[in-house]
């Protein structure tokens, strides 16, 4: 089959690789019909995530049709399913508490050694996201092997378009959990750093949870426009002093809840960011953390910080004093996708949440490498690239993207 494979920094290619096969009883094989490039795939593309190997198949946002099942799978051939990016067994202590992304069992025993020294316990298993998270082949491919297929995938009713439900795999539940972790109360003002897909879903979710105002922060005008379309007020940090603006826009109190949807590759020319960048490039530190620092400092006393953003390692100059002295609550984590799927599928079906607005580019899988380049280089215009393995690769199709 054909699949998008990683070969190094800014080097991804569509290669021919062996088809996946059923190995364990609870496995299923899915023929991919739609798969998206995630903002966190750019962390791999930029070479920020350790324990990658040449030839690894990327992709953790995907859906498709069941073509083969193991004896222990509850899926049936022909079913259309969206697959969560987190792999969870459904039977360990953590899964029983619906902390699916903390599952004990989906990481091969040897891979568990990679993260334990850094994090204290082994990490969750994810599709297509380095060997620290299991080394599982991802879904930017024609087919994928899905372990524990009786627990993860959600069956999509006939007649519902792929584009409408694809984001149930990651970014919609991630944006929703980000808002939930912000413990929003009626009347709240919520500030969201980063208007990528997760930030934009967090904006929509925050309003659904009763926020009175949402303030969205980014520097890409198009992304701020999208946030405004959902009712958010906006701050462009290239034109505006973010902290000063947040204080003025909240009568000197600060936002009740702050959501950092930016993470380890924060853009922007700030003193701490430049220092972080020097350290990252010299291996003295691993993460650039401007957005979370600013969120903590701006947040009102006794407020809540939610951090869906991905961080991998260590930061310094972390405002621990502000966190303590102001009595803030900080909640974070990889998304417990399986926990949110049934309710969010309903919300999408009932049009309470808009998902398709996000897709700016649809391309054949064969053009995936170009999709990465576009997404990486044109983040203002390219909000989401969806790859369709079955799609025709005609010259007309390519010119349709606008940005080349």
């Amino acid at each position: 089959m054909r699949a998008l494979t990683w070969h190094g920094k800014h080097d991804v290619r569509v290669d021919s690789v062996p088809d996946p096969e059923i190995i364990n009883p609870r496995d299923a094989i899915i023929r991919i019909t739609s798969t998206a490039i995630c903002g966190s795939d750019l962390h791999l593309y930029d070479g920020y995530i350790p324990s990658m190997k040449a030839g690894d198949i990327l992709g953790h946002e995907f859906m498709g049709e069941v073509v083969e099942t193991g004896a222990g799978s509850t899926l049936k051939k022909g079913m259309r399913v969206v697959v969560p990016f987190t792999i969870s067994c459904g039977s360990c202590f953590h899964c029983s508490k619906h902390q699916y992304s903390a599952c004990d069992n989906e990481l091969p025993a040897d891979n568990q050694d990679i993260a334990q020294p850094i994090y204290g316990q082994p990490m969750a298993g994810l599709f297509g996201y380095s060997h620290m998270t299991g080394g599982y082949a991802g879904g930017q491919a024609e087919y994928v092997r899905v372990p524990f297929s009786d627990v993860g995938p959600i069956v999509i009713p006939d007649g519902v378009d792929d584009d409408k439900v694809l984001f149930l795999s990651d970014i919609l539940p991630t944006g929703w959990m980000a808002a939930e972790n912000a413990q929003i109360e009626p009347g709240d003002t919520v500030a969201v750093w980063g208007c990528g897909p997760v930030g934009l879903f967090a904006v929509q979710s925050a309003f659904l949870m009763g926020a009175e105002r949402v303030i969205a922060i980014d520097h890409f005008p198009h992304r701020l426009e999208l946030a405004a379309r959902f009712g958010a007020e906006t701050i462009n940090y290239e034109q505006t002093k973010t902290y000063d603006a947040l204080m003025e826009m909240t009568g000197g109190i600060g936002p009740d809840a702050c959501i950092d949807a930016v993470g380890l590759e924060a853009h922007g020319f700030f003193a701490d960011n430049v220092w972080d960048q020097i350290k990252v490039s010299t291996f003295l530190g691993t993460d650039r953390a401007h957005s979370i620092r600013q969120a903590i400092v701006a947040c009102r006393k006794g407020g809540r910080i939610s951090m869906p953003a991905v961080y991998g390692g260590f930061v310094d100059k972390f405002p621990l004093g502000a966190l303590m002295e102001k009595g803030l609550t900080l909640k974070t984590g990889q998304t417990h996708v399986q926990h949110y799927l049934p309710a969010l599928l309903n919300a999408v079906m009932e049009d309470k949440i808009d998902t398709t607005f996000l897709i700016s580019h649809r391309m054949p899988l064969e053009d995936a490498a170009e999709g990465y380049r576009l997404f990486h280089d044109h983040q203002n215009e390219v909000t989401k690239v969806v790859l369709k393995p079955g799609m025709d690769r005609s010259p007309n199709e390519e010119s349709r993207h606008g940005i080349q």
Binding site: V17, P18, E21, N24, P25, C92, P108, A109, D113, A137
Partner: protein, 195 residues
Amino acid sequence: MGDTQTSQRSDDAPLSTSKDDRREQVRAALVDPKGDTLVGKTVTINRPRAELYAFWRDFTNLPQFMENVVSVEPVGEGRTHWTVKAPAGKTVEWTSAVTEDQPDQSIAWASEEGADVANSGRVEFRDAPGGRGTWVSVTILYDPPGGVIGKVIAKMFQREPAIQARRDLRRFKQLMETGEIATSAFTRQQHEEEM
């Protein structure tokens, strides 16, 4: 875990986590101690104690999750013959006898005379607090082949018992909780090569 408290100890932590050498105390707690290098590890498994004990007590089950154990064959009178992978494509063998058997609680074993790697150990099954299933604790004493140098070489080939015990216990947990052992293999051929 054979954690006999002595007057020198002032906390409740297992002996295997001590900063000092506690091998003698571990040896003293085993019926027939063999070997000098200590491995101790505990894992929580979300299954009843009796089920885990029963699975382990049938030693022929162990190769299912013990990656380096090629085979365990009963040789009569509760004894078993073990064939285990060693570095550089070699195998080592020994015959083991059960030295202690408390149903649903613990099993201890020791190798007999003539073992390629003298070893002994105990697995203990305790109810985990809060209804979280069972704590499975394994203590192993062994003499590394070739002494300290052999241990370093084994570690290079990832066949060092401390690494192996840690990974085997994770696989035991996976098998008991999910009915299968997690793998990221893509094809069946790849999966066989990893075994």
